[in-house]
Assembly symmetry: C2
Homo-oligomer: 135 residues x 2
């Protein structure tokens, strides 16, 4: 009886870790920590190994990760899908910064970023697909 019913939306530090694991998993704390520091901009201070370890242990408690013991060391996997998590995060942002309007978020994202032509094509295709099935 020590488990929360639903998994919470991950914090920023937790999302950093999930992003690594969504790309490649299962993996060790060591790998994740190295990877995080590689991706980090040079001006930032390094993340200590125990920091990453601690956050991953908390994530395990929260149900965001699972782990197994292989060769006497722990390897972790995401317990939440990228799709569901990204959707949760988006819902939060739409709410706190876009007055609840997902379409204005989309317009802002398209308008302000330099979206590549090939991405625009993919997005157009997706819209077409949605329109087809919602008639």
């Amino acid at each position: 009886m020590n488990e929360k019913k639903i998994t919470p939306v991950p914090t920023d530090a937790e999302l950093d870790i999930l992003q690594v694991l969504w790309e490649k998993s299962p993996e060790t704390v060591r790998y994740i920590n190295d990877e995080l520091n590689k991706r980090r901009i040079a001006t930032d201070k390094e993340i200590g190994y125990t920091t990453t370890l601690k956050i991953m242990q908390l994530m395990l408690d929260k149900g965001l990760l699972t782990r197994e013991i292989v060769e006497r060391s722990h390897i972790y996997k995401p317990a939440v899908s990228q799709e569901v998590t990204q959707t949760q995060v988006l819902r939060g942002v739409v709410d706190t910064a876009f007055g609840g309007s997902a379409s204005s978020l989309v317009m802002r994202a398209l308008g302000s970023g330099a979206t590549k032509p090939e991405d625009l094509e993919k997005i157009k295709a997706l819209i077409q697909q949605i329109e087809d099935q919602q008639k």
Copy 2:
């Protein structure tokens, strides 16, 4: 020399306040606080007046708001635009949850949300416009 060069990305509570002021400003703390409580879901606890006041005072320090004294009471205005702020917030989300890919954020937003047909039209028009000007 007591001013930060750049204004920070607003926190969640700050964004709630900015959303009210982007819609209607200048306004008083009283108005904002009432409005926040109106918009809040019933299950949530009410936000106290001094809480809103305090956050707005902090926002003033950070350069997120400006204020004037009218009839011996303070009226506040946003010092940051909705456009710039939303773009900053999006940049953060794209980074922490979408591996830096704005287009995958857009795809997720379109795919998971129930985007209304008329919004899809607006989005299509925007894409068309971007494509026209980028060739």
